[in-house]
Amino acid sequence: MTDASQTAGPMLAADGTPLKQSLARSLRRQKLRALFLIAPLLIFVLVSFIVPIGSMLFRSVENSIVRDTLPLTVDALQSWDEKSGELPDENVYEAFVRDMIVAIENKEHTRLGSRLNYEETGMSSLFRRSGRQIKKLDPETDGPFKEKLIDIHDGWGDVKTWQVIKTHSVPITNGYFLNAVDMRRTPDGPRMQPEDKRILVKLFGRTLFMSLVITGACILLAYPVSYLLATQPTRVSNMLMILVLLPFWTSLLVRTSAWKVMLQQQGVINDTLVWLGLVADDARLIIINNQIGTIIAMTHILLPFMILPMYSVMQTIPPSYTRAAKSMGATNWTTFWRIYFPQSIPGIGAGSILVFILAIGYYITPEIVGGTKGVFISNRIAYHISSSLNWGLAAALGTILLAVVLILYWVYDKIVGIDNVKLG
């Protein structure tokens, strides 16, 4: 480059602009092109996936319904001391009647009733029953209302009713999250639910415990199989791999229905055992609609997710290491435990986290083979979405589950890396 050394100053590109500038422009253009290609999908995923998840997170704390339906009452209740144990003043009752008349006209009072019913049973019927008679009152002429409301329904004479309305009048509430961990908002701050209503913490515990058991069972079953696959010649291991991949590719519903067929009281396993005489006909094993059923079926369903990462790690362990150890006098056990096993741990880690993440959010299989004893927290979420309609609680439960999964996912990313996810 004699030219460059002779003329001092910046190096020039063909069109006369400085080379540095020209390169920067080209780089910028390249980046823009890449982003332009990614943009449609990114926007699509953001709008139709990330935003819905975000709206779920928001719904788990959102609670504007009380304030929107009873604005005057909520204001009037500010000056009432909920801990005094006395009923609120007449002005609260008057504000309440005014609010209710508007709400009844818009048919919103029953919705409010069912919202408050999640916190205190009986609220729903209280609102529904009083609605018709409150409508007949005229806020201008019929006062005072305190006595009249208590005449309409005893509930209005109960301090508890007003306490519930006041405690849940905040627009952003932690109430659903407290409910999700078996607590509730009270005038005295968060308190535990009564004994008979504490089910969710137990359910979370059971979900974690069963996911751990399933992960452990998967490790135990997957380790020998992956070892066999990794040590066989390619032709044999490809054949055996089909036995792993076929269940992996088969529809989840098919495998779940197969397990329902296998595990029933009149199912294949019990019939075989009875035929062999190992089990008496009137003492058939109960292995469905309980935890055993869920564990067996989900271990089977998630086993390929454990075998595949383990196999890909074990494939990379050179066989010469174990041979070297043996040639130096190590016993079989020492060779395995000191040489082979430590090198296979990354595979166990990757598979375990993957299986655990998948297991913890499972819904279909526990729903079908789990009965009442073998269900997971996700079944509770589905119940609150479709049956009890307590969507806020469902969203709070979902948020907690999501947090657990994201932490595990972060760990997985640290250990394995998302880029190393492989399929098939």
Binding site: L41, I53, L253, N332, I381, G398
Partner: protein, 403 residues
């Protein structure tokens, strides 16, 4: 490598106890079926050990021993319990005579390294048996469904007729029910509408994005990747909950404000939800294919005057097509097999095949489910084969020898 290990005959003192042990184990089941487990064990041990001694010391003819044992056991099984027992007898007879000679002739060492100790040989075969049991666990549930779907009765288990291999015990009526029943047909049709459209959306958007992601300078690549993969990571029940809230609002907006047809909006919601779920699979497979893509090819095309679009369709697309197709198959199976999201987002008129199966399993349980399951297993075998063939083709195209 170890095929040339010299083998030698083993003494009877090792063969007979081993065979007797196996015989006692089999005797447990026969004995349990006939009332007394200890009697079965003793009988089994004596019978198999005696036969082994007879074949080895008296008969001294392996081929004849095979015939005698297989036919003898088969006949005994047939006389006691009919055709099913007969088949079991044939198999059992073959196994015992094979096992006897396998031990006696020392064939079990033939494929092993010559210097292994007896203990190592034992553990080698014990390990094989354990692995075999795990493979049986993996594959049995799928294999059990296939014959049960031909059941002539409305039962979920093998009837005595089926065990006797009586043709009357089998029928195609569950398949007939699937192909004539309106509800099953409608759900099948819905699946065939929703899954392909969702696949097309996720494949076209996903391929473009994967190409973008594989460029050398992408700002915030890790974050983008994490967002695009997230539908695969987030548990389905949470995705479904989020989408339930979101899509019911969107649906109300589309129907109420813009006045779209209710059915159309219903399908649109499910299709979009499924498309999102399929995207991570497309991204992963296509980026994996692009890792091995030789970028100088596109530069060469540009050098010869092809525009970016032409280069893409003529050069890049044919080379990454196998990855795109297998990503598409993953996306298709995700949508075709998905039930949680459609359960939450869809309405009754978008009932898909998995949804129909799910309600079938939960409420009015009908063996038609098993016929559907069999059809789905056949479909998944076809898909598995396609993906495997594509993988090999892709490796060949990229100049690697297929593993």
């Amino acid at each position: 490598m170890a095929a040339l290990t010299p083998i030698s005959r083993k003494p009877l003192s090792m063969v007979l106890p081993s065979v007797a042990l196996a015989g006692a184990f089999a005797g447990i089941f026969v004995g349990a079926g006939n009332g007394s487990v200890p009697m079965g064990m003793i009988g089994g041990a004596i019978l198999t050990a005696g036969l082994a001694w007879f074949y080895i010391s008296v008969l001294r003819n392996e081929r004849l021993a095979y015939w005698i044992n297989i036919l003898g056991f088969g006949l005994a099984g047939f006389l006691f319990t009919g055709i099913g027992g007969g088949i079991l007898g044939l198999l059992g007879g073959w196994f015992f005579v094979w096992f006897t000679y396998w031990l006696y002739e020392g064939r079990y060492r033939r494929k092993l390294l010559p210097y292994l100790t007896a203990q190592q040989v034992f553990f080698h075969y014990l390990f094989r048996v354990i692995c075999g049991a795990i493979f049986v666990f993996l594959i049995t549930p799928i294999l059990v469904v296939l014959p049960l779907s031909f059941n002539a009765q409305d039962f979920f288990t093998f009837t005595p007729e089926m065990l006797r291999l009586d043709p009357e015990g089998y029928s195609l009526k569950h398949y007939q029910d699937f192909f004539t029943n309106n509800e099953w047909q409608r759900s099948f049709k819905n699946s065939l509408i929703i899954a392909p459209i969702a696949t097309i959306i996720s494949v076209s958007l996903g391929t473009l994005a994967a190409i973008g992601l594989s460029q050398s300078h992408v700002p915030g690549r890790r974050a983008i990747m994490a967002i695009l993969i997230s539908p695969m990571i987030v548990p389905l029940i949470i995705s479904a909950t989020g989408m339930f809230f979101f899509y019911s609002d969107i649906g109300r907006f589309l129907e109420g404000t813009l006045g779209f047809n209710k059915t159309f909006v219903g399908y649109l919601k499910v299709i979009l939800a499924h498309a999102v779920l399929g995207i991570p699979f497309v991204i992963i497979t296509v980026t994996a294919t692009l890792v091995g893509f030789d970028r100088s090819l596109t530069r060469a095309a540009a050098n010869m005057g092809a525009g970016p679009v032409r280069t893409f369709f003529k050069i890049q697309m044919p080379l990454i097509l196998p990855g795109v197709i297998s990503g598409g198959l993953f996306a298709f199976i995700t949508s075709f097999d998905e039930v949680v999201v459609v359960l939450f987002v869809g309405s009754a008129s978008q009932k898909t095949l998995p949804w129909q199966m799910f309600t079938g399993l939960r409420e009015q349980i009908s063996p038609t489910i098993l016929a559907v399951a069999t059809i789905l297993v056949v479909i998944s075998i076809a898909l598995l084969t396609t993906v495997e063939l594509l993988r090999r083709r892709s490796e060949r195209l990229r100049g690697l020898t297929p593993a």
